[in-house]
């Protein structure tokens, strides 16, 4: 997030797109509800009738995979109507003319044809967003899990810059991170091309810095493969060994048949986890890890706040904290690795990572965490980013053309299947399905189908249906509901009983390599 959770309380308008906030980030969703009750406006873009829809000033249900056209159309109206922030655009951005020329092609009529949103509503959305004093864009995986995920994000950034809604309190572009430490895993260099703090592995000075600090030579200067790339490489046999720590790709990744084949094709698979997950069941070696309550360490939340968790109880049996396991391995590999505690590791992170430079255990335990960038011991942390200038100086508009989704429904696969999470369950279910109350509230997967479609196909609620894509099929109980529009089906990926990721498409965004989990084409029939 460019901004912080507390800033939701002061915003005038929320532009929520691709986020079922009350289900996925309940304590951020509640702040949006409260804001609406005190008079803030909410523009919601979501094909589904999610709970926030009841609070929306305007709820626009765009066709799947058309976000770039939608937002380009909004920018076009803002420019045509002269509602953009001219002083801001002039002082802080570059590339406006290119943006203007490109979005000019996205007339309300063109956008209506692509997105299904009426031009009058597009106008209302554009005017409301542009005229708000403090407007926050909020998004989640509904924006990123598309073959145009990168373009979607760039286009939203264009919109925020065009209207001056970035670099001030209660504005900004705010992706809500889905896991307790997904922000931290990225910050710590858990990505192919970067060390900690997004320092590039192909920058010679950076490589030298890490080689010196780590006492090694010959660090690989070539960015590696993403998770999707690794699965493909394993499938082809060029990736032979894989070490997975605390992840369950055999539930979470698209096209599970492909993933299963990829993992089975490996010469050696190590999985380190707290449960014998679907993925761990395929491993050659399984290492038992400690859970969050059984170790000390820091986690970085969606607003870049690094917080310290303490150890409450001992891990069961011989299970060990992940850092202890890795330390033991590093020693066997001949690396100097003499950390006595996680604080020792944090000191090394502080020294190597400018944005984490001042984030020490001493400071974390005497307050409520620190938001990076926090470069030194006296820096208070950063509540919102891009205050006076962007990281690179001027903010560049990066105009993107609309590109269609990888799969468009046709005569045979005539429905769009979209996936997400539900309130009571979490990700691959490894943790939440072992909580009695959560399991009672949401014990089984359901497939949402619109009543009109259900009627045509003779499907009633609780009927078992078979859903099939070009990659796989599953059986699942139907829930007939107006939450989904016609020709759209929705279910979650929490339940191993109905693995929706057998069906989903592994087609990826070319830059971020994020798969298009938010839409694939399927056919459906009632099981006799």
């Amino acid at each position: 997030m460019t901004n912080s959770i507390n800033e939701f309380d002061e915003a005038d308008l929320f532009f929520v797109i691709g986020s079922n906030t009350t289900a996925q980030h309940p304590l951020i969703g509640s702040r949006i509800i409260n804001a609406v009750e005190r008079g803030a406006k909410l523009i919601l873009f979501d094909p589904r009738e999610i709970p926030l829809a009841q609070f929306a000033t305007l709820h626009l249900k765009q066709t799947f995979g058309t976000d770039v056209a939608l937002v380009n159309g909004i920018m076009n109206i803002i420019i045509q109507e002269d509602l953009y922030d001219k002083p801001y655009v002039q002082a802080r951005t570059e590339g406006f003319e290119e943006l203007k020329t490109m979005v000019a092609r996205y007339t309300p009529k063109v956008v209506e044809q692509i997105t299904g949103i009426r031009s009058s509503e597009l106008y209302r959305a554009a005017v409301m967003y542009a005229q708000a004093d403090k407007a926050m864009i909020v998004y989640a995986m509904g924006i990123t899990q598309h073959v145009t995920g990168t373009d979607n994000v760039k286009t939203l950034a264009n919109l925020a810059m065009l209207t001056g809604h970035v670099g001030r309190p209660s504005t900004g572009v705010n992706p809500l991170r889905g896991q307790n430490n997904v922000q931290g895993a990225c910050d710590m260099g858990g990505l192919p091309g970067v060390f900690t703090g997004y320092q590039r592995v192909n920058d010679p000075a950076t490589v030298k810095k890490f080689e010196d600090a780590w006492g090694v030579s010959g660090l690989n200067p070539k960015p590696g493969l993403t998770i999707t790339g690794m699965m493909n490489a394993a499938h082809q046999g060029t990736l032979k060994g894989l070490y997975i720590m605390g992840e369950n790709p055999l539930m979470s990744d698209p096209d599970l048949t492909h993933v299963e084949h990829a993992l089975s094709n490996l010469d050696f698979l190590v999985v380190q986890d707290i449960f014998l997950t679907e993925t761990a069941a395929l491993a050659d070696v399984v290492l038992p890890a400690a859970a969050f309550a059984e170790k000390q360490g820091t986690y970085s939340n969606t607003e870049r706040r690094v917080q310290l968790a303490q150890c409450a109880v001992s891990p069961p049996g011989q299970a060990k904290a992940d850092w202890e396991i890795i330390t033991a391995l590093c020693r066997r590999l001949g690396m100097k690795c003499d950390y006595a505690c996680t604080e020792d590791i944090m000191r090394e992170i502080n020294a190597l990572t400018p944005s984490y430079g001042g984030i020490t255990y001493e400071r974390l335990s005497s307050g409520y965490g620190l938001q990076w960038p926090c470069p030194n011991d006296t820096h208070p942390g950063t509540v919102f980013l891009h205050r006076d200038q962007f990281t690179k100086g001027k903010g560049s508009f990066l105009p993107c053309e609309f590109k269609p989704a990888a799969e468009i429904p046709d005569d045979e696969y005539d429905f769009t299947l979209t996936t997400g999470r539900i309130y009571y369950q979490y990700h691959t279910g490894t943790m939440s399905r072992r909580v009695d109350l959560l399991e009672r509230e949401a014990p089984e997967p359901l497939l949402e189908i619109n009543p009109e479609d259900a009627k045509k196909l003779g499907i009633r609620s609780n009927d078992v249906v078979e859903v099939e894509s070009r990659r796989g099929s599953m059986r699942i109980k139907a829930e007939v509901t107006t939450r989904v529009p016609k020709r759209v089906l929705f279910t979650t990926f929490h339940f191993k009983e109905s693995q929706v990721n057998r069906l989903t498409n592994s087609a990826c965004d070319p830059v971020a390599e994020i798969p298009e989990l938010k839409g694939c084409s399927v056919k459906i029939r009632r099981c006799s």
Partner: protein
């Protein structure tokens, strides 16, 4: 009636903690105050309303009530001398209401064990802890009337100490507790009580709403409106001193062995009332909220009230900690003022 200098209190509690497992206010390094096992280093008398009632002592969020092990049955109810130091009168009333509930129809041995073992030191309020306090409206505070062991009244540099039980009297018999032997002792105490009573505003909508509910109920749109924004966290139930509902589940720990666990449940989750057929008599969040608030304000068993007005003790925590402002204060105002 006794007096004790505030500066002597930490040493006294330290002494007590050798006999009792003492739960007391504790100032954390990050600056917030919670109730935790007494620690001289973090103990403080400068604290506001704790964010949670002391339910963890009587009804832990989860508790293995018995185990089956190697063919044998192990009952886990056991005795441990405990002291709640410095709880507020509203929470004390909450404890008494819950105790009444848990002993009314049958003996709940787990709850009884905890209750019999717990010594209560009430810290009477001299003024509202924050803007959501309404104990005086529901007659649950600002000081305890009975059922406590010791009660402290703030007199500036001293506490005026009242014993409510024989154990309490023994505990305050010796130094540093000193006699409060002035002629007008009870008059002075009454003055303190009177000032405290008057400092906490009456929320008249509570009694108005109770009248409306008694007369046939609130406008359904109130529940519909509130039900729409409830995010179903269950927080209002978890922070409520008088919410006592639990679920029970069995857990296999190893082949042939297992345990029965009881854990906090909440009537705001749909599964709380869902029937085996799949039918749910309280099918919407609106109906679930309605039932919860009607229970507190209308249906609560009168014998469980323990001299309070209803099943709400006016601690205001559901208003403090509801993510979308559906606390009792907001609910009674919506009902009484016909807001929706």
């Amino acid at each position: 009636m006794k007096l004790i200098a505030k500066k002597d209190v930490p040493a006294v509690v330290d002494q007590w903690s050798k006999t009792y497992a003492v739960l007391a206010p504790s100032l954390q390094r990050n600056g917030e105050c919670i109730f935790d096992t007494f620690d001289r280093a973090t103990f403080t008398l400068e604290y506001r309303k704790p964010s949670m009632p002391p339910k963890s002592t009587y009804l832990p969020q989860s508790e293995a009530i018995f185990q089956v092990k190697d063919g044998g049955f192990i009952h886990s109810a056991r005795h441990e001398k405990t002291m709640l130091f410095g709880i507020r009168a509203c929470d004390h009333t909450g404890i008494r209401q819950a105790r009444s509930f848990y002993s009314r129809d049958m003996d709940d041995v787990y709850h009884r064990c905890h209750a019999e073992d717990t010594l209560i030191v009430v810290h009477a309020c001299s003024w509202p802890q924050n803007e959501t306090c309404f104990c005086t409206t529901v007659h649950s505070g600002p000081y305890a009337k009975e059922g406590f062991d010791i009660q402290l009244f703030d007199m500036g540099t001293d506490f005026l100490v009242e014993a409510g039980s024989d154990t309490g009297r023994e505990l305050i018999a010796d130094a540093p507790f000193r006699a409060f032997d002035v002629d007008d002792a009870s008059e002075r105490l009454n003055r303190v009580k009177h000032m405290a009573l008057n400092s906490i505003p009456i929320v008249s909508e509570v009694t108005d709403a109770m009248e409306i509910l008694r007369a046939g109920g609130a406008n359904e749109t109130v529940w519909e409106h509130l039900g729409r924004k409830c995010i179903t966290c269950g927080g209002c139930v978890y922070v409520c001193p008088t919410c006592t509902c639990f679920t029970v589940y069995d857990r296999v720990t190893s082949e042939g062995n297992g345990e029965r666990v009881r854990a906090w449940d909440t009537c705001l989750y749909a599964g709380f009332t869902r029937e085996a057929s799949g039918h749910n008599p309280r099918a919407s969040q609106a109906l679930r909220l309605k039932r919860r608030h009607e229970h507190k304000l209308l249906y609560y068993n009168e014998t469980d009230n323990q001299d309070a007005l209803c099943g709400c003790v006016g601690c205001g925590r559901c208003s403090d900690y509801c993510p979308v402002h559906i606390g009792t204060i907001e609910v009674v105002k919506a009902i009484a003022d016909h807001i929706y």
